[in-house]
Symmetry: C2
Subunit: 180 residues, 2 copies
Amino acid sequence: MARTSSDIAVKASEADESSPRPKSRLDLFKFVPFRLNRLAAEVSSALAVEYQERHGLDIPAWRVIATLGFRNDACSAQYISQCTRTHKSTISRAVTTLMHEDLIERVENEADRREFRLQLTKKGRALYEELFPQLLRREDEILACLSAQERKQLSALLGKIEASLDLIQTSEEADAKQAY
Amino acid sequence: MARTSSDIAVKASEADESSPRPKSRLDLFKFVPFRLNRLAAEVSSALAVEYQERHGLDIPAWRVIATLGFRNDACSAQYISQCTRTHKSTISRAVTTLMHEDLIERVENEADRREFRLQLTKKGRALYEELFPQLLRREDEILACLSAQERKQLSALLGKIEASLDLIQTSEEADAKQAY
DNA sequence: GCTAGATAGTCTCACGTGCAACTATTTTGG
DNA sequence: CCAAAATAGTTGCACGTGAGACTATCTAGC
C-alpha cells in the first residue's frame, strides 16, 4: 500500500451535496460510479495485506476459500463462479492453485461427471478459520468511521442497488431453479 | 451487460442485517469489501457502454477527459493521476492515445520543463460535452432505486469512508515514518 | 554553484484476467 | 436411440495495467 498522500493541491470538491450540480460539467468526485470504483480499489488494497502478504492468496483464491468456508457442503466451481460473479476461467485457475497447495480438494460427482465437488481440506479449513476473523477486523476498521446505524444504512443502500442491478439471487429464484 | 441471471441455486443470505453474524463463518454476501468490489465492477460495466462502445474510450482515457473537462485550466498528468488515484503509467498511456486522437493537447510548462500542461482540444471538449450527460443519465438509472434522501445518505456515507481511508493512510504513513 | 535527492513522465517487463475455442459429458427433441 | 444443443471445466491468446527502472529536470543542502 504505497499510497503517497498527494502533495500537490488536489482541489477536492467540497462535500456540499445539496448544492445543485453545475449544468455543463461533471464533478468526478461526486460521480457515484467513480467513487465506488475508487473506494473498492482502496478497500481491496487495504485487505490485500491480510490474505496476500500473510497467506499468499490472491482475490480469486480468497473468494474460493470464502465460499467453501461459508458453506458446509461441497459445491462446484460453477457455483463459486456465479456466487462471486467471477469468471469461470479465473475460478478454474484459482482452484488449480489451491489444490496444489492442498488447501482444497475435489471429488468427482458420480451423478454428473462433468463437474467436481469442491471442499476445503483440513489445512484449508484451518486457513479459513484463521483468516476470516482478520478480514472481519479489517472491515471493522474501515467502517469504524460509521455509527452502528450508519452501517445499517449503508448495508441497506448497497442492498437496494445490488437488487436493482440483479446482483442478488432471491431465495424464490433459487427455489424456482431448484428443479431437481 | 450480458448478465445471465444464474440458473443454479445460489442461496442468497437474506438481508437480515440486524441478526448477529455467526461466530465461525463469514458470509461473503454481507462482507462490505466484497460487495463494494462486485458493485463497482457491475456499475463500471454498465457505464462502459457509453464511453467504450459509443466513443471508443476506456476507463483511464475517460478519467483524463473527465478531469480536464471539469477543470477549466490545464493541469499536469501527475495531477490527474493523483485526483483519480490512477497509476501514472496508466495515465501516461491514456494521454498518449488521446493526443493521437486529437482529443487533448499538451504544452510545455516553461516554469518546469519536466511537466506538461494538458487540456482538451475543441474536439475533446465537444466529446466531453456530449458524453457526460449520458453518463449522468446512467448514474441516475442506477440510482433510480433510491429516493432523493437515500441518495444523499449514500453520498454522505461514501464520503465518510473516503475521508477515513485518507486518514488511515496518513496516520499509517506517519507511524511508519516516525519509527516509534 | 555543485552534488544528492526529489519529481514528471515514459517505457519495459511480468502478470492477472477476460474471451473464446476446445474437450468431455449430459440433456433434449425428433 | 441418435443427433444437436447445452453445460462444466480447462487452456491458449491478447490485452490492460501495476511495478519499477530510466531520462530529464528541478530543488535543497552544504
